[in-house]
Assembly symmetry: C2
Homo-oligomer: 279 residues x 2
């Protein structure tokens, strides 16, 4: 038996709220220096690990359409720690319903070990739904997480799916369970990387590079927000990085770790390369 | 006799190039500390007066469409000096042709004298075309120069027009002449304000407020660029301010000069109020 419309919305609400609660608790513990505020858009500001972190549950509804989702944006203080963006969303339009999801890692410096870990954890999560799903969601992420005006990727990708509506008598429940599991996957996909890099020494050079890379983050966030519903835009704006630099015409010195980022960001099969890369 | 298509495009090119040359020369003289580079997108970086200034001529054409325009973005160093954005553009689509234009002033602090001066000079320019034109272009600017996601204006407006195609045998020439005059109006509308404010003392408080206001500038620039042709996006990106801050949930202290900006930005008839305000 399919749950009715109200039951479905209540079930999604419960999934998003408990996902938000658990992730915020985990990030609070990790940071130590600052704590998240409460509310729909939960923000941690000026922490030890995160300069800004946002975990937001937003909903929008009119007579034809309903959507509710969780979005996560994490801006670390240390330039060696990558930023993270993830969102999971449920939508209804008329009789149709579907789930959406996305997660991507945005490093300032490339670490193959981190990239392999992130993609491997996402792949394991996707495999619980369908062994073919990850390849498709990875490709969609590589296609989407680009700056069209610069013709470059903004991070090392992850997963993206726009219209997941599993068929069969338990289709809706499978979609909802996959969403709950997706939210629960953020911590194991990302936090080990944070722990590994958070205490690496850095100076003004790495800081300036981070502010420069955050410019790319802002561009991608605002380009996407320009086409997003208003409610979502609020969460996007709350999650912009605190300090950002645009260097007109800036190119890193050839051969520098900063210059190497561009080739590191070229899409590859990180999850498949795991053994070779980490071994 | 109407000029032919090629003649028209050449005429526009000459207007934009000489407009760019003259404005760049004037800004170079004013700044003193740095000079513009040459090329299509001319940039001045890290000057005495301007932290970043961009004067760009960009064109795009395919079989159905042609456009060429001049865009100007000026980010002053001193927070008491307002930023400026202006653009003038010519378009052809099939047999149709039209001129577009926009200019707006983006202060961090409200000076009625500056606002009145800016709007008065723009009104005088508009009146040369048609006495009814300014009211219309002013209203269009008030409507357009807003952040829809924040429901607030980003500056004190100016003028905006999207489809100027004067009729009559000399219609095209009138439009072209008005565009040339519009470009030549940037200096008298803006530079007196720069000269008046550029040496006012300021500290960390005013600087941080400026970085915060630049966040609004970036939002508006990227929101508009998201719907602009690629060529334009390049000029927009080159003209983003060098350093920017987003303060999640930040509200200035009630009664402070920073808090007063919000009411200063509410659209009003600055050109009409001149006598009362300045007198």
């Amino acid at each position: 038996m399919l749950p009715g419309e109200d039951d479905r919305r209540d079930a999604v609400k419960a999934i998003l709220s408990s996902g938000q609660r658990e992730l915020v608790a985990e990030l609070d513990r990790l940071d130590g220096g600052a704590r998240f505020g409460r509310g729909r858009v939960q923000l941690l500001e000026d922490g030890d690990v995160f300069e800004r972190a946002a975990v937001a549950v937003t909903s929008a509804a009119d007579s034809d359409f309903f959507t509710s989702g969780l979005s996560v944006v994490l801006h670390p203080r240390n330039p060696w720690v990558p930023a993270l963006r993830a969102s999971f969303r449920y939508c209804e339009s008329g009789d149709a319903w579907w789930f959406e999801g996305a997660a991507e890692l945005l490093p300032c410096y490339g670490f193959a070990e981190d990239a392999a870990h992130f993609h491997r954890v996402l792949k394991n999560h996707c495999d619980t739904l369908d062994p073919a799903f990850h390849a498709q969601a990875k490709r969609a992420a590589d296609d989407r997480f680009r700056l069209p005006h610069r013709a470059e990727p903004h991070g090392i990708g992850g997963i993206a799916f726009d219209h997941l509506s599993p068929s069969g008598p338990h289709g809706w429940r499978r979609g909802a369970a996959f969403t709950a599991a997706g939210i629960a996957t953020i911590a194991p996909a990302y936090l080990p990387i944070v722990r590994r890099r958070r205490d690496l020494a850095h100076g003004e050079r790495e800081r300036q590079w981070q502010l420069h890379r955050r410019g790319r983050f802002v561009e991608s966030a605002l380009f996407h927000a320009a086409s997003a519903p208003r409610d979502d835009a609020e969460a996007v704006l709350a999650a912009l990085p605190p300090l950002v630099r645009w260097d007109a015409g800036f190119t890193p010195e050839p051969g520098s770790p900063e210059a190497e980022l561009a080739s590191f960001l070229v899409p590859r099969d990180w999850a498949g390369e795991t053994a070779a890369v980490v071994g």
